[in-house]
Amino acid sequence: MSADPKRWVAGHVASLPKSGIRDFFELVAKMKGQDVISLGVGEPDFVTPWHIREAAIYALEKGKTYYTSNLGMIELRRAISTYVNDHFGVSYRPEDQVLVTVGVSEAIDLALRALCNPGDKVMFHQPCYVSYHPSITLVHGEAVAVPTYAKDGFALTAEALRAAWVPGCKILMLNLPCNPTGGTCSVEQLTKIADFCREKDLLVMSDEIYSELTFDGVHTSIASLPGMAERTIFLHGFSKAFAMTGWRIGYACGPSVLIDAMMKVHQYTMLCASIVAQEAALEALLRGWDSVLKMREQYHRRRDLVVRRFNEIGLKCHSPRGSFYAFPEVKATGLTEKEFSFGLLEKEKVAVVPGAAFGENGLGHVRACFATSYEQLIVACDRIERFVQTTAK
């Protein structure tokens, strides 16, 4: 009998591709201490504002070290309900329509596990966050990718959605603004998408983690459009807007029946999110808005800086309406996105993520995160310029 433990790994897990970011991560890790400027991160460069950290320390001092309700602390759910109503114009009952989770990632997993039968088809726009496709595979769903294009600023269009739709589609996953493209939809585009969802009876999972980092225009949640709240699970969290990635705290809001189904999975797996993180999140919602605005202003200036520089350098780059990612096209250099990323890292010690990591529609692009200081961004852009001038075919 073979001794290979591989035989115990579940088939659908064994066949999951490794994250496209992983190889690159290893390579960058090896170059530690070599003055590498990383535009490859996926989190704010700010530390969580002190008043939020201090609230967590205070909670620990007061002995808050126990489980909370499966749904999350009621005070936090109330604050979330108020916040979502004020900022997104959708009203959710704190008692049974809000679920506090361990980051939006858990909320996505819960929603898919609670709603997706084996073989159900789940639509998502691509390029997209690296975990969407695998999350669908893990619940034995069938992933249906909808392409978005640079010419539309990587906004999802109802036309592309209709073209990709096949019978059996049950869920549409949205991430607006989008990681890695920064693309988002205008109200008109979103309205058409909402119409399509009602026509095809699609349930929407809307991951709006970057919504506070919208620079041009106002962010609109699809849940706020007429008739959509009843078919939308609104997913949000604290990682990006409040610079709280390591706290792992997010939430889901939606119809009580769906939240209850997600809560079932949550109570048997995670039980509840960390009470300390929940206390910090409460403080963030009550008193953190000024910090959000300050950080957003800086991201805005950084975006304008990198987008302008990329275009000057000859890397065609649409201006992302939200998020802290620029997604320039590198085709003009004659290099593939992989050659570009690896070459840039080796020659100029700047790390950007090859776009293919975010799905095949990311080919020919790289993701550059501008959540880093002005000084670093200026130097990084100068190095990229030198790389393009000396290496372009």
Binding site: G42, Y374, E375
Partner: protein, 162 residues
């Protein structure tokens, strides 16, 4: 708002060339904005933020905060006296306050004696000054927005993340 002022408000220490990159102007235009801010008396000047407890030779060993009570003058209020007081080199900052006293004066000196001498010989003898109350600073925990001896832990963020 002046784009350069917005950047200055962030409290960074960019060179004018770097500022030009960030706000998307030429360096000359940034200079013009700075000149305008100076003309408008919004931007008063550059100054480094230093922790002088680490450098005795710098000559600022002692800092004091002095509460000053004074008699306002008809027509001019506290202004004439406050402006006169502010001109002394020893005075680092000077504010008119609401509450139990009138002026709050920050004074730097190379020794306790020097600061005490300034208060007793110059400050309290000014006509109109009724009383002073001097508090010597013992230790600084934050200076001009910078934390002292409790910097954030060096970052161990992942270099590449999804």
């Amino acid at each position: 708002m002046n784009p350069v002022l917005k950047l200055l408000l962030e409290g960074g220490s960019l060179t004018t060339a770097q500022m030009a990159q960030v706000v998307g102007l030429s360096e000359a235009e940034v200079q013009q904005h700075l000149e305008q801010l100076k003309k408008d008396k919004i931007f008063l000047g550059w100054r480094p933020v230093l922790d002088l407890s680490r450098e005795a030779a710098a000559g600022v060993a002692v800092r004091a905060v002095i509460e000053v009570k004074m008699t306002p003058e008809r027509g001019g209020g506290f202004n004439r006296l406050a402006e006169r007081l502010a001109r002394f080199d020893e005075v680092e900052a000077c504010y008119l306050m609401s509450g139990a006293y009138d002026l709050l004066v920050f004074v730097d000196g190379s020794s306790l004696q020097k600061v005490a001498g300034f208060v007793s010989e110059k400050l309290s003898t000014l006509e109109g000054v009724l009383s002073t109350s001097t508090h010597f600073m013992l230790r600084s925990y934050k200076e001009g927005g910078f934390l002292i001896e409790q910097a954030e832990a060096t970052t161990s963020r992942l270099n590449v993340a999804p």
